[in-house]
C-alpha cells in the first residue's frame, strides 16, 4: 500500500537512470503527481502532450479491432527513453505512469519490470 507521492519517489529511487516521472490522467491531460524533471523539461507539459500519444494509440487499436490492451508504450530518443505505462487497476482507470529515463544509464527491461511492481503497489 502506498500513496501517490511515495510511489513516484520509489520509481525515481529504484529505477536506474530515471530522471523524472508523472502520474497522468489521459482524458484531461492533468498530471496528478510529478517528480523530478528540470527547468528545461516541464513534466506537466510532457504529461499533457503524451495524452495525445496514448489517445491516438488507443483509437488506432480500436480501428484495427485489436482486442489486446496496451501495457506500455516506449519512445526512444537519441539520449533518452520515455516509457508510458497504462494503469489497469481499479483506482487507476484512465491513468498512465510516465517515466523519463537517461538512455546511457537505463536498463529498459529492469525499468519495465519495476514499473509493473510499482503499479501493483499503488493499487492493492
Amino acid at each position: 500500500m502506498a500513496n501517490t507521492e511515495t510511489t513516484l519517489k520509489e520509481a525515481m529511487a529504484s529505477i536506474e537512470g530515471a530522471t523524472g516521472a508523472a502520474l497522468v490522467d489521459y482524458t484531461s491531460g492533468m498530471a496528478l503527481g510529478t517528480i523530478g524533471g528540470s527547468k528545461g523539461f516541464d513534466l506537466n507539459v510532457a504529461a499533457a502532450g503524451n495524452t495525445d500519444v496514448v489517445r491516438a494509440k488507443i483509437r488506432t487499436m480500436e480501428h484495427l479491432g485489436l482486442k489486446g490492451e496496451i501495457e506500455d508504450i516506449l519512445i526512444t530518443l537519441s539520449d533518452q527513453y520515455h516509457l508510458i505505462r497504462l494503469l489497469k487497476g481499479r483506482g487507476g482507470n484512465g491513468l498512465f505512469l510516465y517515466l523519463v529515463l537517461d538512455g546511457k544509464r537505463a536498463n529498459l527491461a529492469m525499468a519495465r519490470h519495476q514499473l509493473r511492481r510499482i503499479e501493483a503497489d499503488l493499487e492493492v
Partner: protein, 272 residues
C-alpha cells in the same frame, strides 16, 4: 556614406501569465486571499463548494459532477453500502477517508487518485463563471477528512488549462450545459469507445452533467468527449426554446405607437 541607425523597435508587450493572473486575482481573487492567510473553512460559490484547510484545498463538490462515492462505485472500487458504513462510523469525526483505508476497503493510492480526480473535476465547475457572490464560512471542515491537499495555485492553474483545452478542441461551449441532441449523422468507426458510451446517453433531454452521473465518470471528461463529438458534428445542444409570442398584446393598452396605430387601424376596419 552614412548609415542611418534607427533604434530597435520597442519590444512588443508580452503578457506575463503568472503576473497577469495574480493581477486579476486569478480565477477567484477571494480564493487567492484565503490561501495567503492559510484559512480553514468552506468557500461557497454558485456552482459548488471548495473546502480549505490551512489555505490548501482538501475537497470540492459541485452539483455538476458525480461525487467521489459515485466514481468509486462506478469503478467497482467501493460499493454504496461500504461507503454508507464508513460515513456512519467516521463521518462525525471527519475521518471517513482514513477509515476506509484503515479498514482495508480501499488502497491509499487508489483513494488518493480517485479523490484527486474528483477534486479537480468539481473545482473546475466551482471556479467557473459565477453570477452570484462568493461566500466563505470559516472553520467548516468536510466529513471526508484530508486525503491529499492541493495548493490553490495548482488548482487555479489546472482550471485555466482545462478551459483552454476545451476551447482548443471545439470553441463552442453550448454542449457543456444544455440538453444534448444527436445530429443524426451516422457515428462512423472513428468514434472511440469512450465517446461512443457518451453518445449512447445523448437523448435530447440529458445534459453533460446527467451523462456523467449515468456513466459514473468525471464531468470534465464528459465535457471533453462532448466537445470532440461536437467537433465531429455528431452532437449538438438542443436550441433554447423561443419565447412564445406574447398573447393578447392588441387588447391591452400600450405605449408603443405602432401598436396604438394597429389598434386604430383595427377599430377602423371593424367600423366599416
Amino acid at each position: 556614406m552614412t548609415t542611418v541607425r534607427t533604434p530597435p523597435p520597442p519590444r512588443l508587450p508580452v503578457r506575463d501569465r503568472a503576473a497577469g493572473t495574480s493581477a486579476n486575482g486569478g480565477v477567484s481573487p477571494m480564493l487567492s486571499r484565503l490561501a495567503d492567510e492559510r484559512a480553514t473553512g468552506v468557500l461557497i460559490r454558485e456552482h459548488g463548494t471548495l473546502y480549505l484547510a490551512d489555505g490548501q484545498v482538501v475537497h470540492a463538490e459541485s452539483p455538476s459532477t458525480p461525487g467521489l462515492d459515485v466514481l468509486l462505485a462506478a469503478r467497482g472500487v467501493l460499493d454504496a453500502e461500504a461507503w454508507r458504513e464508513a460515513v456512519a462510523a467516521a463521518g462525525a469525526r471527519r475521518r471517513v477517508g482514513r477509515f476506509l483505508v484503515d479498514h482495508g476497503r480501499i488502497a491509499e493510492g487508489a483513494l488518493e487518485l480517485c479523490h484527486l480526480g474528483a477534486l479537480y473535476d468539481a473545482a473546475y465547475f466551482v471556479l467557473g463563471p459565477s453570477g452570484s457572490p462568493t461566500r466563505f464560512r470559516y472553520g467548516a471542515a468536510h466529513w471526508l477528512g484530508p486525503v491529499h491537499p492541493v495548493p490553490v495555485a495548482a488548482l487555479e492553474r489546472e482550471t485555466v488549462r482545462r478551459r483552454e483545452l476545451l476551447h482548443r478542441i471545439w470553441p463552442d461551449p453550448a454542449t457543456d450545459t444544455a440538453p444534448l441532441l444527436r445530429s443524426g449523422l451516422p457515428a462512423g468507426p472513428s468514434v472511440p469507445l469512450r465517446q461512443e458510451a457518451v453518445l449512447g446517453r445523448v437523448d435530447g433531454v440529458r445534459t453533460a452533467a446527467d451523462v456523467s452521473v449515468a456513466l459514473g465518470r468525471p464531468a470534465f471528461h464528459t465535457l471533453v468527449d462532448l466537445r470532440r463529438l461536437a467537433a465531429a458534428g455528431l452532437v449538438g445542444a438542443v436550441p433554447a426554446p423561443q419565447p412564445p409570442p406574447l398573447p393578447g398584446v392588441l387588447t391591452q393598452p400600450s405605449a408603443d405607437p405602432d401598436v396604438a396605430l394597429l389598434r386604430r387601424l383595427r377599430d377602423a376596419l371593424e367600423a366599416l
